[in-house]
């Protein structure tokens, strides 16, 4: 994956000090963000976090209360949507039900002095691009959801906008179609090279499609980074918890690199807190490593398998570790590991919590999340 | 459009032209029965084809209300055929243009306003009478009344309908005549007693007679002209002239002050006092303003003219509001919802 953030090109979209209030409620707090040319950016967060509000401010559909938005070097902060340059796709597709697919796609091409033949050629081209070449004469209601969303996408890019905005475009679709379309949308975006901002609440979607992810919560940005950064190096407990699964264990800092959970002191490379600070120790279930019998490790903890659930490609187990006090740990074991170590319900085993994977976050943050 | 017309007229007058051949339109408010209006307009237009009449017709109460409501912005040019008591109200609001129509001196002075020049001229008299359904009378054992006082007898209980004076000109002339004939106190006493027998008060003055004609009631207090018409239509009714005398009102004509076309209005009002016009009025009214014109109307009760009381229109007009309020207080909604 190419690392766009380090490129020294100018940002295509620049958001500075953006605030948005609805009555007394603050939906966005002091948001600043840059989107690079050709980048695929995702706003990810739980519902009500402000991600759609931010997208609508960028589009000019709901103006921000304060702050600026500039696109391609032009300050568009107070412009109505029609005076900006973007295409948009909504969760509901918003296809005009009484117009044929062709006319839906041609909608933005009309009234611009283009000859009819040119419009028609462009519509054919777009239909081919989204893989629905024969469907032009049909009405939206005659297509499947996935097909409709592809038409909505074709309509949005028909006029070659500089910015493509996707507002939960796949959320209304069946799981299978959704996964398939993720790939197609991403492919199309790469082919066109259009700067794209997508809003989603689905972390898988964000991780698989975005060049960079903006994780939002309570109207603020929690973290901006590549999917890998977001997943591996969450900066806050919220991000850690929201992306993927995360064990959260109340702990106290012993010294740099060491935290104490119950009676047990664990190594944590990432700990930067002072002695005595209450923290939440966090470890992803898949990072908990089962130790095969006979393999010894000083840091390995004895654990009991309390429950075990088969989830297709792995097992999710709930472990009780007497050393860690009265808590249960969630651990994901691959089918191989289960076979190799012979893990089964009720069995005792030893697991290791790798020092480079164990994180510590300030305890009050946990309360907030 | 109107302004333009009056401007044009004004300039014609300014240069001293006397030509009246200009086409004019007059808005005429009236309470004359709908079926008579066309005849009136046709007869007038036979002499003055250049003046078009736009009728605004409604019941006396409605037209009076309309005119009073439009006091500051009159829509009418001429009033032709409205109760004199109503015109007296207009007069006291300075809404009428004083004008002595050509030939007014030929009319019975009783039919002309006593101001000089007069503000209104009468056309015909419209006289109260009682319609009595003979078939229903026999069926219900209700004898034909001969006097107003008869109607207070217990035998008539629930068999009498009269118009509500608050909405009907006929109703008001009944009430005002009783107050004049029996005196204020006696009049109200009479109405108290009559109220016991009244089955309901109608909004229109002709309705009681029509209801008598269709047998909905046995006795309907209405006016003679309506009775004659219903009888002519084949209804089994007698038109009774109570012995005490009967109330009446005049239909009258006046020019509305501030009309856009005073000349045309004068032309029309001049015509309304002619003998020809009075002959027209006679088709529905036994008593008209022009002496010697009246011919008997079919089925019109005999002795009606002699029974007409000496009506004090000024009393009727100036006390109208107080009488109606008192009437409403006494009889409106007295019935219980049980």
């Amino acid at each position: 994956m190419l690392d766009i953030t380090t490129q020294t090109q100018k940002p295509y979209l620049e958001i500075r000090d953006l605030w948005k209030k609805f009555g007394d409620f603050i939906a966005l707090r002091d948001i600043s963000l840059e989107v690079m040319e050709g980048e695929f950016l995702c706003f990810l967060g739980p519902s009500g976090c402000g991600k759609t509000t931010l997208l609508r401010a960028i589009a000019g559909l709901d103006l921000q209360t304060s702050g600026t938005v500039s696109q391609a070097g032009r300050d568009v902060s107070n412009l109505p949507p029609a005076m900006r340059d973007f295409g948009i796709v909504f969760q509901s597709y918003a296809l005009f039900p009484n117009l044929t697919i062709e006319r839906n796609i041609a909608y933005g091409l009309e009234n611009q002095g283009r000859p009819k033949a040119e419009i028609s050629a462009r519509v054919t081209e777009l239909l081919a691009l989204v893989g629905l070449p024969e469907q032009g004469k049909k009405y939206p209601a005659q297509l499947s959801g996935g097909q409709q969303q592809r038409i909505a996408l074709a309509r949005a890019i028909a006029t070659n906008p500089g910015l493509l905005l996707l507002d939960e475009p796949l959320s209304a679709l069946d799981a299978k179609v959704r996964v398939h379309l993720r790939h197609e949308v991403k492919e199309l975006q790469r082919k066109l090279g259009v700067t794209t901002v997508m809003v989603t609440h689905d972390q898988e979607e964000a991780l698989s499609m975005a060049d960079r992810i903006v994780v939002m919560n309570h109207g603020t940005i929690e973290q901006v980074g590549t999917p890998l950064e977001i997943y591996r190096e969450p900066e806050t407990l919220f991000v850690a918890d929201f992306i993927g699964a995360m064990n959260q264990i109340p702990a106290v800092v012993e010294e740099a690199g060491k935290i104490r959970v119950g009676t047990c002191v664990l190594q944590s490379e990432h700990n930067v807190f002072d002695h005595g600070t209450a923290v939440i120790a966090a470890i992803r279930p898949e990072d908990i490593t089962p130790m095969a019998d006979g393999v010894d490790d000083a840091d390995a903890l004895p654990a009991n398998v309390e429950t075990m659930e088969f989830l297709g490609s792995f097992y999710r187990a709930s472990l009780s570790c007497p050393d860690l006090g009265n808590i249960s740990l969630m651990a994901d074991f691959s089918i191989n590991a289960v076979r190799r170590v012979d893990i089964s319900l009720g069995k005792s085993l030893r697991v290791k919590i790798p020092a480079d994977r164990l994180k510590a976050f300030p305890a009050q943050q946990g309360a907030q999340a | 459009m109107l302004n333009l017309k009056s401007f044009a007229l004004a300039s014609v007058l300014a240069i001293g032209a006397t030509a009246t051949a200009m086409a004019a339109e007059l808005t005429v408010y009236t309470a004359v029965e709908a079926e008579d209006l066309k005849r009136y307009a046709d007869a007038f237009n036979a002499d003055h084809p250049d003046i078009t009449i736009n009728w605004v017709r409604d019941s006396t109460g409605v037209i009076t209300a309309k005119l009073l409501a439009e006091k500051d912005n009159p829509q009418a040019d001429v009033i032709w055929g409205l109760a004199a008591t109503s015109l007296l109200l207009m007069k006291s609001e300075d809404m009428l243009e004083p004008y002595a129509p050509a030939g007014v001196e030929k009319l019975d002075p009783k039919f002309v306003d006593n101001s000089t020049p007069p503000t209104w001229t009468g056309m015909d008299a419209w006289v109260a009478a009682v319609c009595y359904n003979t078939v229903e009378g026999e069926k219900n054992g209700v004898p034909a009344p001969t006097s107003w006082k008869d109607l207070t007898k217990p035998v008539y209980k629930g068999h009498v309908i009269m118009p509500n004076p608050n909405s009907s000109g006929t109703g008001f002339l009944d009430v005002s005549s009783w107050l004049q004939m029996f005196g204020e106190e006696g009049g109200w006493e009479y109405m108290d007693a009559l109220h016991e027998n009244i089955s309901r008060y109608t909004h229109s003055g002709s309705a009681p007679c029509k209801l008598a004609a269709s047998g909905e009631t046995t006795v309907g207090v209405s006016f003679a002209f309506r009775g004659a018409k219903s009888k002519a239509a084949g209804a089994p009714i007698e038109i009774i002239v109570p012995t005490e005398g009967v109330g009446w009102d005049m239909e009258a004509t006046a020019i509305v002050a501030g009309t856009d076309d005073l000349e045309a209005a004068k032309t029309l009002v001049d015509w309304t006092v002619t003998k020809k016009a009075n002959e027209l009025y006679n088709s529905g009214y036994a008593v008209v303003a022009y002496p010697g014109v009246a011919k008997p109307v079919k089925f019109f009760p005999e002795g009606l003219v002699d029974a007409m009381i000496d009506n004090d229109f000024e009393f009727a007009a100036n006390n109208r509001s107080a009488i109606l309020a008192e009437w409403a207080k006494r009889y409106d909604g007295k019935s219980d919802p049980k």
């Binding site: 209360t65 | 209300a65 912005n73 269709s214």
Partner: protein, 669 residues
């Protein structure tokens, strides 16, 4: 945590595009329409209700001569003169704009034969008095002999105050109407809602046959003016009525007639609302009840009634409002039984007491507004129920119950169809009850008071204009409220204005129009007495339901169409033309037919506003009945019925055509 005060200034001010300006322009125009056609007239009416008239005695002076005609006594102020009496001869009470006060009572030894002379004058130019009918003003002395002084009356001056209301509530005849109106409305509501509930229940929950026919019959009353059942009741139960004996000596002219007629004309309204409520109840609840072995009766009280409760309440308040504000029916069949709506008519038309008319209007507004407000609350709750995911109830055959329901619906249908049938019969009988031969004589409307065939034509013109103009105004207004952005306060105000007409009785609106439009200072004065004012008042009177229909249709449309269209740099009117209107076409047709039918049947909204040139069929029914021409009134009523029935059939055909044409793209709906 930062608060909204921490948001750095300056706030972003939106730059308005061309579309924004056009949209705001449209919204301003339609808001202006509602302000001119609703808010200002109501204000004019309210200010009239608070205009009072009293005699200002201190404005007049009199000087009395001796027997020889020499004015040696001092000039007296009338107020001082009056104060010398205990109690005063002239009370301090209020009068109306037509008030007149005689003065002779102030002179105990007054005789019209006396040679005493009187000098009289006002002390200010506003002081008005009459000598006979001659009007005088101002401070010029007028010398009158005794006989003439007898004819002097003074006129009142205008103030602002509550005196009209004091007068109103101290007049038993008038306040009786408040009780009568409430009583009638309550009784009618109970009967109508009960009848309509079982009717709707039979349609929704039984397996009886001919449901379509019953539903159609139940809708018939909507097509006729509310006073038509009154006419039919006269033929059925009047003194010459076919079924007079059914009343056992009671008269139909009065509460019985009003209640019967009200049940007739409000039945479809209640039936529609209750049917909707029953349609949304959840079949799963019934399955649960069956599985709990609850008795049919218990299920009814624990599942059916609670499920339909908002519908029942809503129907009750709608019916209550319809009955209490109706004018036509009590006028035709009310007899001596006075109700508020008729009182307004009597005060205005009969007594020319506009102030008191306005006062009664305000009194009528109170229950009407209350009923409306409660109904709105109920509707909202009902909508909340609607959105729940429920399973449609499918009735199962039950021979005994189905038969009972069938018999019941047949009875109600006979009542409804019977009323209309009687009217048609009455229209064709030559001279009830003495000449029963059939004739078209009663269709000779030109020979009757009321406007003749011209009024029928006028009604068609009014109905078409109302349908066309009203639909355009209402739909555009609803679009602006529902689909535009920004300008929140303006939109909220607009929404409030749009809801208001439903709470305003037609007569009150009509009276308000007289006050507002018949004012020479009003530049819109020219529309008074024309067809325009009738169209305006009718559109305004029926605005709310149309507006809600349009809003509902627009709400069902994707909220992002506008955003997509704007992002594609297309003007909003293109979207409006190509998408919004075609997609909303069924709703647009529904609004038009609603406005058409109501414009044909309304009496109350236009009774104060028509002129001879613009007489209407519904008014002709009223006036012909008023004049005792009951059969022609029935004939005209049937003309309205057939016209509306025809319009509805056309509407059904048009709707079907449109649905057929749009079948392809509506498939997904």
């Amino acid at each position: 945590m930062s608060t909204i005060d921490d948001i750095p200034r300056p706030f972003v001010k939106p730059r308005l595009g061309k579309d924004d300006w056009i949209q705001r322009g449209f919204m301003a125009v339609i808001a202006l329409y509602l302000i001119v056609a609703l808010a200002l007239p109501l204000y004019a009416m309210l200010s009239k209700a608070f205009s009072t008239y009293t005699f200002d005695l201190s404005q007049y002076e009199v000087q009395v001569s001796d027997e020889d005609g020499h004015f040696t006594k001092p000039v007296e102020n009338i107020a001082n003169l009056n104060a010398r009496f205990d109690p005063p001869v002239i009370g301090a009470g209020s009068t109306n704009s037509n008030g007149r006060q005689k003065l002779t009572g102030l002179f105990p030894d007054f005789s019209f034969r006396s040679p005493v002379m009187y000098r009289f004058r006002g002390t200010s130019p506003e002081a008005v008095y009459l000598v006979g009918s001659e009007r005088h003003t101002g401070p010029e002395w007028l010398e009158l002999d005794s006989n003439t002084f007898r004819r002097v009356v003074i006129r009142p001056v205008k103030h602002v105050g509550l005196a009209n209301f004091t007068t109103y509530f101290s007049t038993p005849a008038l306040t009786q109407s408040v009780r009568n109106s409430l009583w009638i409305a309550t009784i009618s509501t109970i009967i109508t809602v009960t009848l309509a509930f079982w009717f709707a229940y039979a349609l929704a929950r039984s397996c009886m046959r001919f449901k379509g026919v019953f539903r159609m019959v139940a809708m018939l009353p909507i097509l006729v003016p509310s006073l038509l059942p009154g006419i039919a009741l006269v033929y059925l139960f009047g003194n010459q009525g076919m079924l007079k004996s059914f009343l056992m000596g009671e008269t139909i002219y009065g509460p019985i007639g009003i209640v019967l007629g009200s049940v007739f004309f409000t039945f479809p309204h209640a039936m529609i609302i209750i049917s909707t409520a029953l349609a949304i109840s959840d079949a799963r609840l019934y399955e649960a009840a069956v599985s709990l072995k609850a008795s049919r009766w218990k299920t009814f009280w624990t599942v059916t009634i609670p499920g339909a409760r908002y519908g029942l309440f809503s129907a009750a308040f709608v019916v209550f409002n319809l009955v209490i504000t109706d004018f036509g029916l009590p006028k035709v069949i009310g007899g001596k039984f006075n109700v508020l709506a008729v009182d307004i008519y009597k005060q205005v038309i009969g007594q020319q007491n506009f102030e008191m008319g306005a006062v009664v209007s305000v009194v009528l507004l109170v229950p009407a507004m209350l009923a409306f407000a409660i109904d709105r609350q109920m509707q909202k709750k009902q909508v909340a129920l609607l959105s729940a995911r429920s399973v449609v109830f499918e009735p199962k055959p039950n021979r005994k119950m189905d038969r009972i329901f069938f018999a019941y619906t047949v009875l109600v249908s006979i009542f409804i169809a019977g009323i209309i049938g009687v009217c048609q019969f009455a229209a064709l009988i030559k001279f009830w009850p003495y000449d029963l031969s059939l004739s078209l004589h009663n269709y000779n409307f030109d020979l009757m008071d009321g406007g003749g065939w011209g009024s029928y034509k006028n009604s068609i013109v009014l109905a078409v204009l109302t349908a066309v103009i009203g639909t355009v105004v209402v739909f555009l207004g609803a679009y602006m409220v529902e689909k535009t952005k920004g300008f929140e306060k303006g939109r909220a105000l607009f929404q409030m204005l749009a809801m208001l007409p439903m709470a305003i009785p037609g007569m009150v609106l009509g009276l308000a129009y007289i006050f507002f439009f018949n004012n020479p200072a009003n530049p819109l004065n020219f529309i008074y007495g024309t067809m325009i004012i009738l169209v305006v008042s009718t559109v305004t009177h029926f605005y709310t339901v149309s507006h809600l229909t349009a809003v509902t249709a627009l709400k069902q449309m994707d909220t992002e169409f506008e955003s997509v269209s704007a992002s594609l740099k297309q003007p909003f009117h293109k979207l409006f033309r190509q998408v919004t209107v075609p997609v909303s076409m069924p709703a647009i047709l529904n609004i038009s037919i609603y406005l058409f039918v109501n414009a044909m049947t309304t009496v109350s909204a236009v009774v104060f506003l028509y002129s001879t040139d613009t007489a209407l069929a519904s008014i002709a029914v009223l006036n012909m009945d008023d004049a005792g021409d009951i059969a022609p009134a029935a004939a005209m009523g049937m003309m309205i019925f057939y016209t509306n029935a025809g319009a509805r059939i056309l509407h059904a055909l048009a709707s079907r055509g449109i649905l057929k044409r749009s079948e392809a793209w509506r498939k997904g709906d």
